[in-house]
């Protein structure tokens, strides 16, 4: 069995003192850890994951040129052909009108009625590129820096770097949709970091945490008696194995779990929130109820000291009919997300909370014609996308980078995802090059092998 302590000792033996003492010192500092960049403003993060890959062309990156090219034949060059990108393809214009929002004049399609009201809080970025064209690998890439899964997610790294502000709650909480995203729970994995950094999904329906309540018919009082008996057994056992430290830790976990059984359902319960708050987030109404509940929950969780909340909304994978599919999705997230931004601002929390809005890739300016040309969508595009940031330390009210005239590829302020990861960490006070973990014979980091922060995104 490998315990944390043992691991550290092993490290000492194999590496020499330098790294080891640094780690121990940080451990000893207790729950909250000092950031690498004390000047960083953001202390926590809400990551709005638009699963499926939202189309930049139909949300925040208008391409008037596509109006001229609409339904003209499109040819793709290069050897990286897939079955899907072959065959006859056509340019496709956006079915939506675009407006200029806020003082900053941010581009938004007109369906963003509420988000337009907080446009000046947002920093749009159009220069990002990723590697993968398939959902699960692209999800893993965005979440863990590694396309193939199995590495720690951003939320796990951030908790590793900044520690926990509330020891009774997990530091990394995931608010999935009813359906888990492609790639499943590996999207919030702790990877090779200690298990305590794993993302804890709070399920939107049924039991928020699996098995968080005793079996029906067992009251908490009854369970208390059971646990007291268990403690008797464990005490006797510990007496026979005085040198075995894990025993006490495991007993402590039972008591923590007992407390969480009542605490977690309380936090998840939104029924006692004021009507005005529910109204603001669009809770109790369609199509905003589902995302609205989770946006409000995200705010409550960060208020309670959860370091990193990731919320999934989708699926934006509109291959077939962008007008209908994106046309329904945008109103489902628009009001809740705008409410979250303004709520954080009103509570004075936006200045030290980082909000990220992104999907796993953008979408193509072209499409094979399906359904006889009446319905058209867009395929996956790793070379162009729009993401936005808001909150602590972000260059709000700016649009950075640009794509080409058809939205096919980023051409200005172009950065690979690893630089974006470095940027996110930097905004949270963490240095990717110093936020490392020794595993399988080398120091590993989120960006895999280092990157540079995108200075244009930072205020």
């Amino acid at each position: 069995m490998k315990t944390r302590r043992e691991f550290l000792h092993g490290l000492n033996a194999s590496l020499g003192g330098v790294a080891f003492t640094g780690m121990l010192a940080r451990e000893a500092r207790g729950a909250t850890k000092e950031p690498h960049f004390p000047e960083a403003k953001a202390k926590r993060c809400i990551f709005l994951y638009m699963e499926g890959g939202p189309s930049h062309i139909d949300t925040f990156d208008p391409k008037p040129r596509l109006r001229d090219l609409h339904l003209k034949e499109f040819t793709r060059e290069g050897e990286e052909q897939s079955a899907m990108s072959s065959g006859k393809r056509y340019y496709v214009q956006s079915p939506f009108e675009f407006v200029k929002a806020g003082q900053s004049g941010a581009d938004m399609c007109s369906l963003w009625e509420n988000l337009a009201g907080v446009a000046d809080e947002l920093c749009f970025y159009r220069g990002l590129q990723v590697d993968s064209v398939n959902h699960p690998t692209a999800n893993y890439h965005v979440n863990t820096g590694n396309q193939f899964g199995g590495d720690p997610a951003v939320g796990a790294w951030v908790n590793h770097g900044l520690g926990s502000e509330n020891e009774d709650l997990p530091g990394f909480v995931v608010l999935p949709e009813l359906a888990y995203p492609q790639g499943g729970a590996a999207n919030w994995s702790n990877g090779y970091l200690p298990t305590s950094f794993q993302g804890t999904p709070l399920r939107p329906k049924g039991s928020p945490l699996l098995d968080i309540r005793p079996q029906p018919g067992t009251t908490l009082e009854h369970q208390r008696k059971n646990l007291d008996f268990l403690a008797t057994l464990n005490r006797e056992h510990a007496g026979r194995h005085p040198g075995h430290e894990e025993l006490a830790a495991r007993m402590k976990n039972y008591e923590l779990a007992y407390r969480m059984q009542t605490q977690v359902p309380d936090i998840v319960d939104l029924d006692r929130e004021p009507a005005a708050v529910l109204e603001k987030y669009g809770i109790g109404k369609e199509p905003t109820d589902s995302v609205g509940r989770r946006c409000l929950l995200a705010r409550k969780l960060v208020e309670k000291g959860v370091r990193f909340v990731q919320l999934y909304a989708g699926t934006w994978d509109s291959h077939d009919y962008i007008a209908k599919a994106h046309g329904a999705l945008i109103p489902a997230v628009d009001r809740p997300i705008a409410a979250l931004i303004s709520d954080l601002k009103e509570r004075g929390m936006l200045k030290d909370t980082l909000v990220v809005w992104m999907g796993e890739f953008g979408r193509t300016p072209d499409n094979g014609i399906r359904g006889g040309g009446l319905a058209y969508g867009r395929d996956h595009n790793p070379k162009a996308m729009t993401v936005w940031l808001a909150g602590g330390g972000v260059k709000a009210g700016h649009t950075i980078g640009a794509t080409d005239e058809i939205g096919g590829e980023a051409v200005e302020c172009v950065h690979h995802l690893r630089d974006f990861h470095v940027t996110l960490l930097k905004l949270l006070g963490l240095d990717d090059n110093r936020l490392t973990y020794f595993h399988a014979g080398r120091f590993k980091q989120l960006s895999q092998f280092g990157g540079e922060a995108i200075a244009d995104l930072i205020a």
Partner: protein
């Protein structure tokens, strides 16, 4: 000496004898400091004037001493390294100037001290020519002959010999020096203990020992009767009783189930492909059973290697061989309509190259995919030479008749349920086709056209404008359900292969271009007819579209004999030759790697601490002689794994108590337990916890092998909707009857995208990466799983009913429960408090009318439909639940039994249950 230990300093060559011998400072600089500067500093402080940070240039002595904008000429205090800020920076002790900035690039203590010593020596900076001369004639370390790197610098670089241990021939110590009558394991461990002045803990008592070794070899707890029998036998003849016990356990079929699980961790076994579609791999279970058989039959390890790497080449006519070589395809992999064929093919090639490296050779080869290995003598050429071995390896699922030893039971019933599911889906598609036809008729009628269907219009060569545009569905439900139906039709069809004698295997031939992989891959009649015969080349930055120098199939050239090992470059036979090289007694890695794994699975730690990485970055062996001795034992005893077990298990080291009489000095002198002064306790693995609960409750069905079993899973997790490409995945549904569900966990269906939360929380590793050593963390979700889950409640109730059925009095029931769960009788105090707790719980239970549990016969899925942007619903029928026979339910038990079940549940939760000593 600085970084390297003064081992093989090369003698000065006479033609340079005229050169003055280098001073200590010059040598430090030429051999250590200058290369460090170049590798770690010049990127920002030298080479490129554009990139210079802090105005500090380090490429010549004058600039170095002049300093940069912050420290100026104080950066280096010539003659006093310790006072020089540069030294503090590289120690990372200078706030905000920890250098190099990347923690991953940090210098070792020895490297930093070399800089200090060089400054102490006056920071001499000889001419480049002299530096080169010193490097050539005075460098420490050794060179390693390989197939050659991408540049001469790499090819001729020097290595710390200590990091090359695994490339040296296995040198078993002379047994005559190991002490009369002692097990050589103990002699070799004892030497290190004695050196530290540590005494070994005494032998554990027989009850502890039988529990330890039974879990170790079978993954199950010993039965109370077995414990008593062993304790009695051990009193008469401790050695004989132990030998008999070990023999009995090694002969039991449960041994193979437990040790196959270890191997499946390393090879990443799963029943699905992972990624976007996460298709079931309907026949991989045959590989799982092959591994179990291999361990039970004590298949010689060299043969085990050959069969897994080249079974198909050895004998295509033997189904066993076709199944075994399925190893090559155990990683996650898929090829979708979005994927680029060359890219996914390369993913396989990279995966298998690295896998073979890690699994059999403990070499992390992926490091050499984009460049020559940074630390080990593995040139990128070798990586691609190994990869070339697999360049003709192609996937296929081929007919391979059932073997007499394979369990084909339960297929008919399983297939019947699968058919129900498939038929329901087909009926849905038929209904929707009918709708489509109806809408087409209406479409033509509305347009006043004389056709009744699209097909008919097409046949009549109607112009495009007179053809209806694809799907004419009218409601979100119609659109959404049709898509699910179509996707599931494809999946379900493939999954029928689960019941067919098909091997998930490979063949040699040309690489065909496959559009997308969504069904069984059949083997072409002529493997050389269609496709491309791959020509492997070194890929720049690993990019399949950037081939550089071509390479021939080969092996790792740094391993002795590697350079002389010829791999044919004919289409067939490459893998056989590779397997022969790996399985050769002369290969310095293979036997050590397996001996180390076996040791690790017994002791919870490897002699070499990174079983998948014997390179210089892996942990060095704590007992190199012991490792070599074990490796030699393995090879010279016909590669018998069971022989290795017997040798290890008969040692005193294995039989030591976990409690050391002088625990304080052990903690002080051996905080890691690397000296084996006491035996390390361990937490049961995920599978062992579930299997032990089933064994103790009396519900475990010991049936072996066959198509994957479907145990109960937390119902919310089982029905948790999850996305696969373009749709929902079908729900997880358990088997209908308890005896089918309550099989050993190794037989549970393993879906990459839907892990059993109970097993996952107890650290069952994800099947995407090779797992060399499981974690055993201690986290709160484990409490919820073990304390609150239906699985635990069911086991506890069955345990209670079993015990009450076997006991006459409350006292004897309590005693029996303790004996079953902990392998011992309770103390008087424990018995008293258990009885009191039972009485109290019985009273509480008397006031409870247990709610009747319901199982869902269907589940409704909701999502937004893409064509309409509106929500749709889909109802999935769960046929098994219509016939589902639950385990014993609270409603079927009286308050006395339920109260006792409370007690039993706490026994399962107790530390004593989940830890083995």
């Amino acid at each position: 000496m600085s970084v390297f230990f003064a081992v093989a300093a090369v003698a000065a060559v006479s033609s340079f004898a005229a050169e003055k011998a280098p001073s200590k400072g010059e040598k430090l600089f030429a051999l250590t400091v200058r290369p460090l500067f170049a590798e770690k500093c010049f990127g920002c402080h030298g080479e490129d004037p554009e990139k210079i940070k802090g105005d500090y240039v380090m490429t010549d002595r004058e600039s170095l001493l002049k300093g940069g904008e912050t420290y100026g000429k104080d950066a280096v205090v010539v003659g006093d390294g310790a006072k020089s800020p540069l030294y503090a920076m590289v120690l990372r002790e200078e706030p905000d100037f920890e250098m190099p900035p990347k923690e991953a690039d940090q210098l070792t203590r020895q490297e930093a001290d070399a800089i200090r010593d060089w400054i102490d020596a006056g920071a001499p900076w000889p001419e480049d020519a002299r530096i080169a001369w010193i490097q050539k004639n005075h460098a420490p370390g050794v060179t390693v002959k390989t197939s050659g790197g991408l540049n001469d610098g790499w090819t001729h670089r020097r290595y710390d010999p200590a990091g090359l241990w695994a490339y040296r021939p296995v040198k078993a110590p002379d047994p005559t020096g190991l002490g009369e009558g002692l097990n050589p394991v103990d002699s070799l461990i004892g030497a290190a203990l004695a050196e530290k002045g540590l005494k070994a803990a005494p032998r554990a008592d027989p009850r502890t020992l039988i529990r330890r070794v039974t879990f170790d070899l079978t993954g199950l707890p010993p039965k109370p009767e077995e414990i008593e029998a062993f304790a009695a036998a051990a009193e008469r003849d401790a050695e004989g009783a132990w030998r008999d016990l070990v023999d009995r356990l090694l002969d039991s079929p449960q041994y193979g189930e437990q040790w196959a699980r270890h191997w499946l961790d390393v090879v990443r076994y799963a029943d699905s492909s992972g990624f976007a579609n996460d298709y079931e791999r309907p026949n991989t279970w045959r590989y799982r059973d092959y591994v179990i058989r291999a361990f039970n039959e004590d298949k010689p390890y060299d043969q085990f290697i050959r069969e897994q790497i080249a079974g198909d080449e050895i004998d295509r006519g033997d189904p066993e061989m076709l199944i075994a070589v399925g190893f090559l395809r155990m990683g996650p992999w898929e090829h979708t309509g979005m994927s680029v064929a060359k890219v996914t093919r390369q993913l396989f090639l990279d995966d298998i190259t690295d896998s073979v490296g890690q699994v059999f050779l403990a070499q992390a080869l992926q490091c050499a995919r984009c460049h020559d290995h940074k630390f080990d003598p593995v040139p990128t050429r070798d990586y691609y030479a190994m990869q070339a071995v697999f360049a003709t390896t192609q996937f296929a699922e081929v007919d391979a008749p059932w073997l007499p030893e394979e369990n084909t039971g339960g297929m008919e019933e399983d297939e019947r349920y699968h058919r129900l599911r498939d038929e329901a889906n087909e009926a849905l598609l038929a209904r929707l086709s009918e709708k489509q036809r109806e809408y087409e008729r209406a479409w033509f009628a509305e347009k006043g056209l004389p056709y009744r269907s699209r097909a008919e219009a097409k046949k009549a060569k109607a112009p495009a404008k007179d053809l209806p545009p694809g799907k004419l569905f009218r409601t979100p439900d119609e659109f959404g359900q049709e898509r699910i139906g179509r996707k599931w039709d494809n999946r379900f069809g493939w999954e029928f292969d689960r019941y067919r004698p098909i091997a998930y295997t490979v063949y040699d031939g040309k690489t065909r271009t496959v559009k997308a992989e969504y069904n069984r891959l059949e083997m072409p009649g002529d493997p050389m007819k269609e496709g491309e015969l791959e020509k492997t080349a070194i890929l720049q930055t690993g990019n399949p579209f950037a081939p550089a120098a071509p390479v021939k199939p080969g092996v790792l050239s740094a391993v002795p004999g590697g350079l002389d090992t010829a791999i044919p470059d004919a289409v067939s036979g490459r893998r056989t030759a590779l397997a022969d090289w790996i399985a050769s007694p002369e290969n310095t890695l293979t036997a050590r790697v397996m001996a180390n794994r076996v040791w690790l699975w017994h002791f919870g730690r490897g002699l070499a601490g990174n079983p998948n990485n014997f390179g210089s970055t892996g942990k060095r062996p704590t007992h190199p002689e012991l490792l070599d001795w074990l490796a030699n034992e393995l090879v010279t005893n016909g590669w018998s794994i069971k022989h290795l077990h017997r040798v290890i298990l008969s040692s005193e080291a294995y039989r030591r108590s976990c409690e050391h009489p002088d625990a304080a000095s052990v903690r002080e002198k051996d905080p890691n337990g690397a000296d084996y002064a006491a035996f390390p306790p361990r937490r049961l693995s995920a599978e062992e916890i579930r299997d032990a609960m089933l064994a103790v409750s009396g519900e475990l069905n010991p049936e072996m092998g066959g198509i994957p079993a479907r145990p109960d899973m937390n119902l919310e997790a089982a029905l948790q909707p999850r996305m696969i490409m373009g749709t929902f995945a079908p729900s997880y549904v358990p088997n209908p009857r308890p005896e089918q569900r309550n099989r050993r966990t190794i037989y549970a269906h393993k879906t990459r995208g839907q892990r059993d939360p109970f097993l996952e929380t107890f650290n069952q590793p994800g099947p995407d990466k090779s797992c060399e050593l499981r974690d055993s963390s201690n986290v709160t979700p484990q409490v919820f799983s073990l304390l609150n889950s239906e699985e635990s409640a069911d086991r506890a109730l069955a345990f209670a009913a079993r015990v009450l059925g076997e006991s006459n009095t409350p006292e004897s029931a309590v005693e029996r429960a303790f004996r079953l769960a902990f392998g011992r009788a309770p103390s008087a105090e424990e018995a008293a408090s258990a009885l009191a707790h039972w009485r109290e719980c019985e009273k509480l239970q008397a006031g409870v009318n247990p709610p009747k549990r319901e199982w869902p016969a269907e589940v409704v899925r909701e999502a937004n439909e893409e064509n309409t942007g509106k929500p749709f619903t889909f109802t999935e029928r769960l046929f098994v639940y219509e016939d589902y026979v639950p385990d014993l339910q609270p409603g079927d038990a009286d308050a006395r039994t339920r109260g006792f079940a409370d007690l039993c549940l706490m026994l399962f939760n107790a530390n004593e249950f989940v830890y083995v000593y």
